[in-house]
């Protein structure tokens, strides 16, 4: 119950202190609104009904985020679509870059077939000579 109330508190902006939700704000109005939330929950109202009640009273900007319906879908929909579009674009760019890369004469690819060769790489980054003691298959 209290947990549900606090989650509703976090979705409502205190109308007199911009930017703070009513669970953060310490002013009188926020305190009253917290009281109303608990009263209505006790009466058996749902979360949406309570939010609607406050929207009717204070306007839509009392909600901490736009509703996921109607015009508000624009707010929620644009970011994922944009990121998705960018991901698709990136995919094609990478593909075309790889094709361009394959037509070139290339340096031999790294032999990365196992962990040992990875350690050889670490050694190389450290500037060490290749290590003989690392096993017969690596003897050079």
């Amino acid at each position: 119950m209290e947990e549900r109330a606090q989650s509703i508190d976090k979705s409502l902006i205190c109308p007199v202190c911009p930017g703070e939700t009513i669970d953060q704000a310490q002013v009188e109005l926020a305190k009253q609104m917290r009281g109303v939330v608990r009263e209505k929950l006790a009466e058996g109202r749902t979360r949406d009904e309570i939010l609607d009640f406050f929207v009717e009273r204070y306007g839509e900007d009392v909600l901490a985020a736009p509703p996921k319906e109607g015009f508000g879908l624009l707010a929620w929909g644009v970011p994922p679509s944009a990121v998705l579009a960018a991901a698709v674009l990136l995919f094609f760019v990478v593909r075309s870059m790889r094709r361009a890369g394959q037509t070139r004469v290339e340096e031999p690819p790294l032999n990365e077939s196992d962990l040992e060769s990875y350690l050889v790489l670490v050694d190389q980054e450290l500037g060490l000579p290749p290590e003989e003691s690392r096993g017969p298959e690596k003897g050079e």
Binding site: F71, R98, G101, E112, Q124
Partner: protein
Amino acid sequence: MADLGSISLIIALALAAYSAVGSVLGKARNVPALVESARYATYVLVMVLAISVASLVGAFLSHDFHVAYVFEHSNLAMDRVYTWVAFYSGNEGSLLFIAFALSVLTALAVLWAPQSARDSLPYTNAVLMVILTFFLAVMASMANPFEKLPFPQADGLGMNPLLTHPGMFIHPPVMMAGLIGVSLPFAFAFGSLLAGKTGDEWVDPGRTWGIISWALLGSGLLLGGWWAYTILGWGGYWAWDPVENAGFMPFVGLTAFIHSIMVQKRRGMFRMWNIVLINVAFGLALYGMFMNRGGPVPSIHSFGASTLGWVFLMFTGVGVLVPFTLFFLRYGTLKSARTLESSLSREAAFLLNNLLLLGIAFVTLWGVVYPLISELIRGTTVTVGQPFYNQVNGPMLLALIFLMGIGPLLPWRKGSWTTLGKMLLIPGLVSVVVLVTLVALDVRKPYALASFWLCSLVAAGILLEWARGTRSRHRQGDNYAMGFLRLIAANRPRYGGYIVHLAIVLLALGVVGSSFYGTQRDVFMAPGERAQVGDYEIEYLSTTATPKGDRIEFVSTVNVYRDGTFLEALTPQRAFYPDFQMASTRAAIRSTPVEDLYIIPSETLEDGSVGFRFFVNPLVWWMWIAGPVFILGTLVALWPQRRPALASIRECVPPVRAYPMPGTPDEAGETES
């Protein structure tokens, strides 16, 4: 005093304009003497602006209420130590601080510019001086910190009480220096474009200054969170509010840049992309300054605020459009030396990292812009607040942590799935063990579980690689401690990056713990009463009220018990400032690695009972630990890889090469015998 500041401000404006014009003309017309004189102008500017800063500080210290800015932002009653804070508590002083910081950074950048960037340095200097000229001109014409009132006042209005906090000594200057610091990598990129250099000349200074301003921004954000946590009294540290976002976006943009620039440094790729990225980051930083200084954020002083906002907005527009235009003009010449070979490679991982980071920056910007769109189209104002950012940015931040676990394991150029699988095996097992343990401990929220799982994957991956590298060094004859240090020293950008990644993991632990498992309770208590919060029992003893200069301090004393045993006495405080009709709280926090018990008094009733707000915030402790770790990692990554500095570890560092090739004998090998 103030006159001195005023005069030096005008001199500074003239010098900055001269330095900008002089270095471009001198370079274009091939007059080395002019270029050199412009460079000296850049150095002298530091001293001239230092005089300005000193005279403003002096005006505050001597309570010179003839100066409007001092009158508006301080009074006789305030603590002397907060004079430095009052200095940048308003627009004019902040602008002066930004200008001073820019002049210092520019002088250092010009002084330390590497050989490769010397040729285009006059242009880089000119870009920075144009930016500085803008700030100085704004101050001289519409926001002069030394402007005088018609006649001196006896006392000032005082400073916003929320700013009287130790965090305020470092948070604003670090933040402002970070925001203006983005100009440096930008100026190196843009300067080399202006000079017609389209290769990798700007990469080294661009990366160095990019990391410096990025570290400043990161520390600034974290300090801001700490300030909010201890004084704003709502138990949180981050609220996605417009001003926080304004600092967050350039930080995210720069994060993309300092990753992507590594690809150009090592592989000569992404030349165009890096220029685009630094332009974006610079634009976001300008926007950040616009938001904080003269933006639509309510401010106690209305003087010229709206005009200042417009001027900043216009400058932001120019700062974004001009470089992009130049970029498109030079587009054809910016071909990269190499191209991507495989989508399973470090390069590709960096691209994905850029996608996610820019995505986060875009979402944040969208959240800021959307209310304006809604108002334009529908005429209703809406709020885009925490629920939006948490739900949209949350998954992307998680994906980023996942990438942080995979990306560093991938080799440059081309990796293989089998190797990756083998390398992920142990971290994967560790993270599964962590996951199962958490479920057994009754952690059931899917989001939190996913976060902890990914965090343990990243941490295990990093620690495992350190262990492997150290063991490999140990086989060379070093003891473990020495081997570890040599490992770190041998590839500082890489291991510094790992340390920063660990800091991010620590930060994520704190964020996830406190946002999913925090509890909150409001209680009114009379002296002697007890209340239960989480596992804690709190006994309220008494409150004392003490008048202190500009405020009345209410100090409450509470005893904290757990399972019947006394833990400690805490003293949450609240101060009321009659002049401002405002209260500020100072939370009492019992901080342990497991959880914070956080207590703030909200009000005192006439019958002597006090309203308390209690929080139990799990894992927040780790967030503040992340700060020093973050800075340590940045320092390691930045520490110059010069030979003299490496005397102690001798020649175990190979000469810097584009890429070590397998099969070819390593020429540095002969030294270690």
